[in-house]
Amino acid sequence: MKMILAMVRKELIDAARDKRSVMAGLYYAIGTPLIMCGLFMVLIGQLSSPEDLNINIKNANNAPDLVRYLSNNGINHADDEQANKITLTISDDYAANMAIAKQAEVLLVADNSDEKIQKSIRRLEIQLQAYSAEMGSLRLIARGINPRITQPIKINVEDKATADSKGGMILGLAIFTMMYSVFISGMNLAIDTSAGERERNSLALLLSHPMSTRQLVLGKIIAVTCFALLGLILILLVSKVAYPFVPWQQIGFTVNISHDFMGLMLLIGIPVALMAATLQLYVSFMAKTFKEAQSYLTMVLFVPLALSMAASYNIAPDVLQWLPVSGQQQALMDFIKGREIPMMQLIVSSVATLIIAVALAAGLEKSLKSEKVVFGL
């Protein structure tokens, strides 16, 4: 135990002085929540209020009522390049025809193959039809007829999307970035303390000392796990400060980085960090140089990335609930949505995570006893 402590102390001192290791962790932990907040602000802006649509309305004077109606629905006249892509020309005899209940003509000119404005064209059409229908109804009423007879079918639409489900992707993304910090923060240290140790020729020296391979492996795992958790704590703190600045209320729910959530995330993060540390150490001990380890790890880290992403996008959710990383992620998403945590799934995925960590640690211990791995024979 004493030796493991000495190992951990040395690794942490060494890592803290290694700008590359520290920066990798810090950049991610501090940068990501800020970038996420920026992203969410833009995203929410788009989701919640449709932007005002500017079009070019010609002969607006002929139909002041129509123009007012459109304006109330966020469609306004403007005369810039963007607005000129859709022009609405009101015919000269519009007012006259309208007055005598004849069909008054408007001309909508736009390029329907331009994907960017297709949505805007449809919006304008819908509003024009709505106005047309309203005018028609008014005329029927003026003639003593119930306008409903022209609407044989009444369509009732019930939107089942809740605020939660709408925000599911956003939440998934936010929690995913936190979960992934565990993998990113310790990565450089893991490489430095394994492939780097070999590159510096200090691995054989370490193994020449009267300590068991298990102590060596445990010391390194603990050190990398500490770094990974440090990254997680940091990203939680930065998120706690940054996320309240996002106008969540506009989409009807809040991402509240409460103390409970932070505690739960840390607790759930411990087995994940252990697995991340052993996985990274295992892979980079197989590599002979820092660079080799880096390229291996980039490939390997795609797996937890894929799992985590799959969980946030609801791909095959049933299986994912039971798997490492994605299981914990779904539990955290449920917690932040205020639902009950799926305890069974969380326990199974956490235990699976720990089993993987232990298996990898055992594999690591075995491989460090092999002459082939230590000396690259």
Binding site: R17, R200, N201, S208
Partner: protein, 244 residues
């Protein structure tokens, strides 16, 4: 006291050790002399249990390395080649870390580190990070690491390589001090002067085998040559891979 008996080890297709037997006594400096590729480093790694011999035994202070590697390693100090320094640690941290790994408590390790720093006159660099150290400073740090826990046996792998005269002299003095204190000192080298100047016994190795054992004088007499270098060439039968 280090004894190896009938060690054989094949690495790939190469017979690295071939029925190798010798011993290194306490209070003696024993040199393992051989051309490049003779199996010196393989032999030293076997002593630390880092390589497992195909057959034969290695014992340190009568502890079989294969049976109790940790017990055996407690009796050993290693001066490795290359040094394996941690560039971001200071010599004080580095030495103290390895002292703890050798089984000392943190307090003992700190005291022992302070002592060895004084002994090797490392004070001026002891709290600077190892990055940018000269070869001599690196050597001293590595040597301090090897002797900080006062092991009864000290093993040095090519210790004089790349050192200037001053550093070589310092190393020589330290080795003689260790000998006087009754330690068993075993070092591998292919530098004749070093071996001739320091060693009480020389084990000449070639192709994983012991070719001759004796003091430098005995080896000269045995071969009828005036210098150890000539004797060495006579013994291994070729002048391949020898540094003057």
């Amino acid at each position: 006291m280090i004894t190896v008996a009938n060690l054989t080890k094949k690495i790939g297709d190469v017979q690295a050790l071939d029925d190798l037997s010798f011993s290194a006594e306490n209070g003696h400096i024993t040199g393992l002399l051989g051309p490049n590729g003779a199996g010196k480093t393989t032999c030293l790694r076997t002593l630390f249990g880092l390589l497992k011999p195909d057959s034969g035994t290695a014992t340190v202070d009568d502890i079989d390395v294969a049976i109790d590697p940790i017990g055996a390693k407690k009796q050993l100090g290693l001066f490795p080649d290359p040094f394996g320094l941690y560039e971001r640690l200071t010599p004080r941290e580095y030495i103290s870390f390895f002292a703890e790994l050798s089984g000392m408590s943190r307090k003992q390790a700190k005291e022992a580190t302070a002592n060895v720093i004084a002994q090797l006159k490392l004070e001026d660099i002891s709290d600077r990070r190892c990055k940018g150290f000269s070869q001599g400073q690196r050597m001293k740090t590595a040597l301090a690491q090897a002797i900080v826990h006062q092991p009864s046996n000290i093993i040095l792998d090519e210790p004089t390589r790349g050192l200037d005269v001053m550093s070589t002299r310092l190393l020589r003095d330290i080795l003689l001090q260790l000998k006087a204190q009754g330690h068993c000192v075993l070092f591998s080298s292919h530098v004749m002067q070093e071996v001739a100047a320091l060693c009480d016994r020389v084990i000449v190795m070639a192709n994983g085998k012991v070719v001759a054992i004796g003091s430098p004088d005995e080896l000269c007499q045995q071969t009828g040559k005036d210098s150890l270098e000539d004797a060495f060439i006579e013994l291994i039968g070729t002048d391949e891979g020898i540094a003057a």
